[in-house]
Amino acid sequence: MAEEKLIGHVYSDRLYIPAAEMRIRYRKEFHLKNFYRMLHDWFVEEKWVKRIDYEWPEHFYLLRETQRGNEMWIWWRFKKIPGAGEAGTNSYYRYNLDVFWHITGAKDVEVMHQGKKYKTQYADIEFYIKAKIEMDYQHEDGKGWRDHALLKHFNDVFHKRLFKPQLQRHKHDLFREAYRLQEVVKLFFGLKTYMPEKEGQEYDPATGIGDIPGLEGVAPK
């Protein structure tokens, strides 16, 4: 796995095209652990990461306990090479999906839901999603076009002119994927959505509290 730079912004020496940027803000009761678990499973299912715990790209986790409640900062930085594993996997561009959580005032509370008591959390969560397509990503390992004696002269022309239509197509794919992630989060919090099909909501109860209709008594604790 490539080493990230320790000094300087993580994107300062990278070529990228922004694809989507959005945030979701929610302040009410929700089950934080179930939310974390649901997103973990979503990223594994969408092949952003393998189900190997030590490879999970959680670059930063801060927990600050205050009198007003717990404050948490969590940074997830996912990378995916489109078509990875298939013949002709590209070595020039990849998808980057950065997810930043900021949770403030998190407190354990008990709520009544459908006549039963459930332990959950009350918090203010800001969920920030940034999707980008990175070109010449192998430059971080020193093996990119910008490190080659001949190819470095063609790098700009290639991604700005020759390969631009393909990159725009991939940008739209990544845009759609980022908005599917937004749909998952909004459905979990019970916010308004517009997609014709619900993204994964059939599996988890809303806000992670309560039982799934038809599966009473087997709700995750």
Binding site: R23, R25, Y26, K28, F189, K192
Partner: protein, 176 residues
């Protein structure tokens, strides 16, 4: 450099019982049908007051008209004191929302979105010359600004009809 010419801001306010879910989907669908790229950069929920929670949604939509012109439309929804309840309408269960709603619709015409005329002072001069003497500003206003404004007026009419407002209806329905 790219220039943004804004249309007039349109505001709709209503307090009462509305089908918020349907309004949200209908307005979103309008952008899809009119070939806009739809983005929702902010979606926010707050506990609000005892009367009900508060919601905010910001939409940013854009559409390429030509190599020189792009339309941008931003919509801002703000809902206060939202309370959902179920009713039976025509034999079906429908979830309606009692709330106070404000919708702001804003449009912008962006010229030179490809930034071809931004690099040098000479190209910036050409940009101003082109807009002022060749397009003569009339074309900008009478063609692109006009089209965006009346199309947004149709979007506002759709919202007013959905909210069953007294002033629903569009006298300019046949323009653009």
């Amino acid at each position: 450099m790219p220039e943004m010419i804004s249309t007039r801001k349109m505001i709709i306010q209503k307090a009462g019982v509305i089908d918020l879910d349907g309004l949200y989907r209908t307005m979103q669908r309008w952008f899809y049908d009119n070939q806009y790229v739809f983005e929702e950069p902010t979606s926010r929920m707050r506990p609000g007051s005892d009367a009900g929670p508060e919601y905010e949604w910001k939409w940013k939509n854009w559409r390429k008209v030509s190599d020189y012109v792009k339309y941008h439309v931003s919509v801002f929804f703000h809902v206060w004191d939202a309370k959902d309840f179920e009713v039976i309408k025509e034999g079906k269960k429908v979830i309606l929302t009692k709330c106070r709603l404000k919708i702001e619709i804003d449009g912008n015409v962006e010229l030179d979105w490809t930034k071809k005329f931004t690099e040098t002072k000479f190209s910036q001069f050409l940009f101003k010359f082109y807009n002022k003497y060749i397009l003569k500003e009339e074309r900008i206003l009478s063609l692109w600004w006009d089209e965006l404004y009346y199309r947004l007026y149709k979007l506002q009419t759709i919202a007013k009809e959905y909210l069953d407002m007294e002033s629903k209806g569009n006298a300019y329905y046949d323009i653009w």
